[in-house]
Symmetry: D2
Subunit: 252 residues, 4 copies
Amino acid sequence: MIQMTLIQIDNYGPWTVTPAPRAEADLQILQSELYADLQRQFAAKGGLVFFTRFDNMLAITNNVDMDDHRRIQKSIGNRYPITVSMGVAAAETPYEAQRDATAVLQNYGGAQSEERKEVLAIDGLVNKEDSFVQIAHIDINGITDSLTDIIPAYDTSFIVNRVQHFLMKKLIEKGSLVFFIGGDNFMSPCNGLSPEGLLKIVEEIEDETNIALKAGIGKAPTAEKAANLADLALEEIRGGVTYDLVHVMNKK
Amino acid sequence: MIQMTLIQIDNYGPWTVTPAPRAEADLQILQSELYADLQRQFAAKGGLVFFTRFDNMLAITNNVDMDDHRRIQKSIGNRYPITVSMGVAAAETPYEAQRDATAVLQNYGGAQSEERKEVLAIDGLVNKEDSFVQIAHIDINGITDSLTDIIPAYDTSFIVNRVQHFLMKKLIEKGSLVFFIGGDNFMSPCNGLSPEGLLKIVEEIEDETNIALKAGIGKAPTAEKAANLADLALEEIRGGVTYDLVHVMNKK
Amino acid sequence: MIQMTLIQIDNYGPWTVTPAPRAEADLQILQSELYADLQRQFAAKGGLVFFTRFDNMLAITNNVDMDDHRRIQKSIGNRYPITVSMGVAAAETPYEAQRDATAVLQNYGGAQSEERKEVLAIDGLVNKEDSFVQIAHIDINGITDSLTDIIPAYDTSFIVNRVQHFLMKKLIEKGSLVFFIGGDNFMSPCNGLSPEGLLKIVEEIEDETNIALKAGIGKAPTAEKAANLADLALEEIRGGVTYDLVHVMNKK
Amino acid sequence: MIQMTLIQIDNYGPWTVTPAPRAEADLQILQSELYADLQRQFAAKGGLVFFTRFDNMLAITNNVDMDDHRRIQKSIGNRYPITVSMGVAAAETPYEAQRDATAVLQNYGGAQSEERKEVLAIDGLVNKEDSFVQIAHIDINGITDSLTDIIPAYDTSFIVNRVQHFLMKKLIEKGSLVFFIGGDNFMSPCNGLSPEGLLKIVEEIEDETNIALKAGIGKAPTAEKAANLADLALEEIRGGVTYDLVHVMNKK
């Protein structure tokens, strides 16, 4: 089972314009430093955070227990002008886990409620024996040669966003999520998705967009290890160890 | 005229997997802290950076001169395990400015070249009299009530990404860019786009996606001031000062 | 027993002036961000880092095991232009622990050796049953009224430094260390020091410098908990719960 | 003339223990990140900040005008749970400048006043023609070989603190300040001090403590440039270009 945490900044929208709109540069710094900070703290326990919408972040949190969540939450409250609430849930697929994590937090009030503050709402935690995370690391074949070094930077960014859009649309149907992680890279928490299922999606996207993708899949008890195995699988494709466009590595 | 800078991490892809793939959490922290850091330094001169693809960032840099660029570049080189190269150009529209900024940097070698390092390639800078930045701050009407507090977090994120995709597709045709800045917010450098032109796009997107957008537009000599005026214009729509979905504020 | 870790930037001195002296502002940012970063990572396991000389930091690391040290070390190497080596040791007193932690690292080569890099040298780790940390939180009585709000900022700083000098001189004889932690606050890892012993020092310093100190002492299995109890003890003195200048709180 | 700014966290002491003492690790992270942040922002205008007591920081701010101060102050207020007030003054010596900067801020209320918040109190600013900063960069001769690689880390730190104590005591009499900047390095804003005067102090300290120091002095219109020249002067001593223990470089 995969455990996911929704991290939501409390009453953020109103704060950004009170008493007057705050400088956009300051908000961007605040958001990206908050994300980096949470990443560092969840990573200390083998978790992995995705920036998602910045005011709402989704994280894979197998091995991160209630006390860890509480400590991280307090640590943010001590060092930022805002606080965060969290919802945690475990399920067979990433889609279900984030859905339940959202629902359990929504029970405590809206994101812009003036009362809700530093809530930690736990629907369920994964125990050690059942802990299982499957991650696919997906990238675009040869993007530097074919795009980055040739066309304008924004056009490349446009193409990458288009690929993300297609990936999101197709993977959500399989109960899998996908997050942009920079460059031409996507990370997909995908418990329950078969390599063949992912290959089919990769092939469909090539047909529809003419962009060739490849994917390494890792499976392990924590996000940290699954992501690492996914990276190694991707390296084997890059290195020519396999001709498959989707390649799996399991934790030995 | 608008001045834009392309900031590109030198030879980043190969570095992330040398000697073995680096922990994804560390790369995420590195990228978001680098972005926050550049934002803070460009903001000190009235500039505004967009994270774009993180390894390639686009910034509006009116009022940031060659010495400032050089200082920022050195400061990054002194504090990170990577270096950055930059291309700078000025043009009538944001699309042209980033296109020329990319081209002037591409002349110096590829993003994954082992030789190219800490290049500062300047195609042109805007002088004070000609400096003009137009920014639209676009958001989704009532997203908290209609989406964030009701549907799963990932589904909201999916919808926001879809809106971004439509915005990018339509604005690029007008020579305008659009960047996601967190939550349900987008910022569009849009010199040359008329309020009517933007309103038409907003209406088209509502027709096609059933998502209602609104936009504040600001015009000023620097990105900082233009963004601030765009925020104020958006606040006036929120506050009911105007019933227009696109509202403009000029620097007095 | 207390476990301490010496964290040393590898070959830092030469790096700061290669190829030419790097901007002092950049070095200051690098050092303080590195310290904050290490603090966050060690704190995730109940540890506490003192900035010491910035290029050499001492930390109380009970409950932080070999894998944690390794993970932190790699994480720094992935995100900074420098790497760190560490020595770890456990002993009855803080002085002995840092002495042995230093010695075990010195075995691997000098701080400015070009060969030594990312060494993790472990002399010994504390196991759970023997884990014990005693910390005194010491501050200056009424500093805001008597100094900060009246005399020049530098003069206050001069007096605080003088107090630190006296505290260091007297506490080292008891096998205790003392670190400045900002404001008028000092934190002293002091396993083996009796409350009476500390009171005597506080009284001597008042005689010699005319500066009145007070101290809360906390005892617990980790630095995090001991520091928290020391804070609570200090609050009880401030709140008038006790008239003692040295007050102890034990973990129940 | 040298311009100095006192940066003081508003009502910080009470905040750190409200409603209960906050985790020491969090406070340390907050303080050092705040310092790094201010450093980055002042450095963008050629200034230099010293961490001093962390809740009270002194900065050399020649070339940083009122608008810059205001922008930095707002930027901190937007991203931290605390705010800062500032006092600014200009004088012939650093001691006088910080004294007047403190006094002008004290006029607005105490550091722990609940009313005083985000005050910017300006006693005077230096204009371009009169701007002059003299900085000495002082370090300990051969500390790595003689101390760091041989004796325990804390003992080295004790010796460095002792040297600081002597430097502070002797330099304050000349109207000069001295700040620890990490390792075995001190930076002394010292407008008005002659090289002979500094050499005498270096020699006295060697007599009294048996620790040999050396110093590079730089003179320039901003702290950034003066510090850089001081570094270069120190490098010339290290490189054997001069046998003097105190060596001066002027901006050409």
